[in-house]
Symmetry: C2
Subunit: 301 residues, 2 copies
């Protein structure tokens, strides 16, 4: 097992090499147009903690899998995350013009190309995983299962479902607890749950371990979102690294809008405890995940 | 082997049952939000010839595969086609408000939900194929290969690449032959080439047959696009079933804008002949594809 920063470094190095280097403006049959490479890389290589792919790799190694061999799956998880941010920033969605201190993708490349850059990252994630699974060989059925787990996490009962409800509630001022719980799970937690399940599947773990890691992913993801909601209200802008107070401005349904600051703090604590409880069947090898959960919750203290 | 209409009927019946039937406005954890079902089905069930999935099924049966067993793969091909139309119609892309005589997806559901309906259809196509491959069992490696073929056709060296170049040329008034050839292959032909290759792969065909069908798909797709370009200029609006003259209005790079009407007619004929030549290694069992190619080219006479 390595540190979060070491996994993130692995991911960053591979991401930088993922798309072809092409002369500006080139388009050759059978290759990507250079414009598409540039617009995908603009967002994919914009930094970020690489939390989801790093946790994928950590889970894989914890269960005896080979992180280097399946690094492309981690990169695919990050590509899916990156596409979701590009589409989320578009006019008609959140309509954001800045992300991580830089103009958003559609501001630089135009709305049409940004839609296509997002589509390219989503579709490209599957191209990458399918190609890697075939190149690695081994148990093809386990590969199918693992790719399916990631597809479900990103999909119509996962992240996309969460985005649909998030947008719907924001537009219609809906603010119930059921919608809040649905959005927390689907929009945020699913891209932790299912990549962790995929990692455990690739490592050959038994169903009980796959389910336990998925359960951890659910509560980790929920806590992560609750903390994000809290930091948007009580955080320090420089420390958090983004403009704060945006949720209330956009009328988002968040832990704070639903429960207030104290209620949200209590919720984060409960979710942290549930995540730790999910790991009870694991020994010290799961300390990586225990520590990550505790540190995440600590950020609002 | 069945007729095109019989394959299309199979596809339509399965598509109608694909997404869950849910009470209006419902959202239950682990299920799709009903709003997402409605917005995806609005475009997916809007009719159309179901040409790509029907050709997929015909290729599968021609080579001894089981069309019913892999019907979900055909539906996935249509889901990808449907997503591409939703995103193509968006403001910032073509900005169309009508398709097949009905308001486009974003006019009905709003831009944000339409983006997500498209994302849902693309991601959902992979969820469907991966689930079907696991349920069917059999050769998991062949399934991985077949899904990868479809991913490549839809992907960053396929359909998305073609859309990027199409939009780029339209916005920048580029009109060279290289760009035209690139767009014809990637934007249109790739979603014939690669689903046909996937069908042959699932049927257990040898590499020579997979390549031959892919080659047919390339020239069929190119001819199909050339004919579409021609009909936009010389077609009868009632017969073609859509508003004509749009390409010139939008400044699209088409066979007609590049070669004129006579030149485009000649090109369609050449492409038809190349498609037929690609089938030389097949006997009468490939007459389905030969006839389809001839009928498609006849439409401009």
């Amino acid at each position: 097992m390595r540190t979060l920063a070491e996994y993130a470094k692995l991911v960053n190095e591979r991401l930088a090499d993922l798309l072809p280097k092409l002369p500006e403006g080139s388009y050759v049959e059978g290759e990507m147009p250079e414009l598409l490479v540039r617009s995908m890389n603009y967002s994919l290589l914009a930094g970020g903690k690489r939390l989801r792919p790093s946790m994928f790799l950590a889970a894989l190694e914890m269960l005896g899998g080979d992180a280097e061999a399946w690094l492309d799956f981690a990169c695919a998880v990050e590509m899916i995350h990156s596409y979701s941010l590009i589409h989320d920033d578009l006019p008609g969605m959140d309509g954001d013009t800045l992300r991580r201190g830089r103009p958003t993708n559609h501001v630089v490349f135009g709305v049409g190309q940004a839609i296509l850059a997002g589509d390219g990252l989503l579709n490209g994630a599957f191209e990458l995983m399918l190609g890697r699974a075939l190149a690695n060989g081994g148990d093809a059925r386990a590969s199918l299962r693992a790719i399916r787990e990631i597809a479900i996490g990103a999909g119509v009962t996962g992240m996309i479902a969460g985005q649909v409800m998030d947008l719907h509630c924001e537009r219609n001022g809906e603010a119930g607890e059921a919608a809040f719980r649905y959005i927390q799970r689907d929009k945020t937690a699913c891209m932790f749950i299912y990549p962790l399940r995929a990692a455990a599947t690739l490592a050959g773990a038994d169903e009980a371990k796959i389910d336990a890691l998925g359960k951890y992913g659910e509560y980790f993801g929920r806590a992560f979102q609750t903390v994000d909601d809290l930091l948007d209200v009580v955080g320090d802008s420089a420390e958090v690294g983004k403009t704060l107070g945006k949720d209330a401005e956009q009328g988002k349904l968040t832990a704070v809008s639903l429960l207030g600051v104290d209620g949200a703090r209590k919720l984060a604590q409960q979710q942290c405890e549930a995540a730790l409880a999910a790991l009870e069947g694991f020994g010290p090898e799961a300390d990586f995940f225990r520590n990550l959960m505790r540190e995440t919750t600590q950020r609002t203290k």
